[in-house]
């Protein structure tokens, strides 16, 4: 599999993968220090999956993600300030401090939620694809879900609906070999999640999830199919999660085998850097990208730290379009 597109695209893929990695490295360390509340699920090791998939999308295409929510928006093109501010629970966060680490969903980038209820994005993506179809737009909707999520009824129903209605949807199963502490083979029947496609009469594609170009190519083919009205595709990116299911929890619950080292040896960013260098990209250009991203991350953290927390009344916003009335006794003691 060789690289696709022009050099700028390739550098952009590298940039987005690095941006995810560095953003999360920072997030993990400040989470350990207690600066980020709640649970933090990192995407380290899986960057090629998200970036490859999103680089095959247009800006106005839709995307639905998961609890492992940092990678997808950055892959789709989000800037870091509102994401970092969200991690810190600030009012300037992309979700105004309502969502936090599991929900870094940037609707301006076509995201329709990074939903932390496993599998729940399936129907949403089918619905967004239906909406695009009904509006006569040639947008597609891409649904990221995990290997573990493939066992949920919601994923099945979303895929069946998309297939039977030939909706412009792409289902990307990021198979990182585990759902929390459970190996995929202990939870997911069948050899590959992609094999499920056969039952829906749609293409099922398996792709090396550590190869960002390969992922982009596979997804692009699915996107073309979808835009052409030929219906959905199920793509399985074979990838790997480096860190524990959620970080800084005291012990790694993941029952790793000897293949752990092989996976780390095939780090998607290292691999891509090597490919770019081999293809003649100057090392200095990549170093410059790395350095620029380091600055972006620092900037985003400064921004987040300087931002204000939401005021209490905001807890009553967004249940509905209009703010809820605030009970006196609650307000009095807030």
């Amino acid at each position: 599999m060789t690289a696709i597109g022009d050099n700028d695209r390739r550098l952009e893929k590298y940039r987005r993968m690095q941006r995810i990695r560095q953003f999360e490295t920072k997030a993990e360390s400040i989470h350990a220090a207690g600066e980020i509340p709640g649970a933090l699920h990192t995407y380290a090791g899986m960057e090629a999956s998200g970036v490859g998939a999103c680089m095959a999308l247009r800006d106005d295409d839709y995307m639905v993600g998961t609890h492992r929510s940092h990678g997808h928006p950055i892959a789709k093109g989000s800037t870091l300030r509102p994401l970092m501010a969200e991690l810190l629970g600030k009012a300037t966060g992309v979700c105004k401090g309502k969502g936090g680490s599991m929900h870094l969903s940037d609707f301006a980038m076509g995201s329709l939620g990074e939903t932390s209820i496993v599998g729940s994005g399936g129907p949403v993506a089918a619905g967004a694809a239906l909406g695009a179809k009904l509006q006569g737009l040639d947008r597609v909707a891409l649904c990221f879900f995990g290997d573990g999520a493939s066992s949920e009824g919601a994923i099945h129903e979303g895929m069946n609906l998309a297939a039977v209605w030939k909706l412009p949807a792409i289902f990307v199963c990021e198979n990182n070999r585990f759902g929390m502490s459970t190996p995929t083979s202990a939870a997911v029947a069948g050899v590959n999640v992609a094999d499920r496609a056969h039952g829906y009469g749609i293409p099922g594609v398996i792709v090396d999830g550590q190869d960002v170009d390969a992922v982009e190519e596979a997804v692009r083919e699915a996107v073309d199919r979808a835009r052409a009205g030929k219906g959905p595709t199920l793509i399985e990116t074979k990838t790997y999660r480096y860190r524990d299911h959620a970080v800084n929890m005291g012990r790694d619950l993941t029952p790793r085998g000897p293949e752990h080292d092989d996976w780390v040896a095939r780090d998607p960013i290292t691999l891509y850097r090597a490919r770019l260098l081999a293809d003649g990209v100057a090392e200095g250009d990549l170093d410059a990208i790395d350095a620029a991203i380091a600055e972006e991350v620092t900037d985003s953290l400064n921004f987040a730290r300087e931002s204000a927390y939401p005021v209490f009344e905001e807890a009553f916003d967004h249940v509905f379009v209009d703010r809820l009335p605030i009970p006196d006794d609650v307000l009095a003691h807030a």
Binding site: G113, I117, G119, P123, V124, G131, L134, G153, A154, V321
Partner: protein, 330 residues
Amino acid sequence: MAKITFLEAIQQAQAEELERDPRVFMMGEDIRCNVFGTTTGFVERFGEERIRDTPISENGFIGAAGGAAMVGMRPIVDATLSSFLYPAMDQICSIIAKSRYIYGGQAKLPLVLRSCMFYGNSNAAQHSDRPYPMFMNMPGLKIICPSDAADMKGLLKSAIRDDDPVMSFEDGTCWMNKAEVPDDPDFLIPIGKGDIKREGTDITVVAIAGGVNVALKAAKQLAGEGISLEVIDPRTLVPLDRDLILRSVRKTGRAICVDPANRTCSAASEIAATIVEEAFEALRAPVVRITTPDTHLPFSPLIEKPLYPSVERIVSAARRLVGAVEFQSA
């Protein structure tokens, strides 16, 4: 104005809003064949793209309504019977009710989720639920549950135009009831406003859905005995028109809540709790709940029917309350 049934009111509301707004479309199992008469002529008029028969996967298509709404559509989902909502609780509770909140207002979910409460017809426990209290406990869902054709039409139209998710619980016992319903294509009943269906002075009866018609019959009967019931239909359960209820109780000093749902944590419980919390000083007697007990519904008709709120139960509660007052004030 024309006299139409509750079902025809649903049909009209949908047709008018489908006509008015191209973003409105419908989904549901077997809606094209118009089983209950709420989609008469829709396929011919609005086409198969906008009138969609779905696979039998409530979680899938109800969640898809959420997704479609997020990208600018205004879906009406017909989930057939309220008992079929359970398989979709994942998408209703975690996506539809919460997406706007969790993403800090980025998402908007203008969708209507209709279902019929199909009880009293010997369809047994898996088909006969009235589960709106469950959804009242879940923030982020507006809930309408009208008891007559005019309210049905006006509220459903408001629901379709509303920018929040609205669940419409349609009481099967009201289906064939007729009422004068305005033809005005902008006839709307505001969500969140209750209605006094009959004025009275002695006891406030807050009745839900089909319970309203039972309460009105009881009121008629009791009028002959000199007991005057004020029958309030909240029409909307979320938001609930607490002010209207409290104003009435402050006037009458007594309250009965009539609710076809199961008793524990019912709408009746919520209304009774509101009354004792906010209008205690006005209360002259216990607040009585007339509900379906915490049984499931049996198939056999002779043992099913007496489980629901009845005229007799309301009448005897009312007599007792009025008596209780006399006793108490003696």
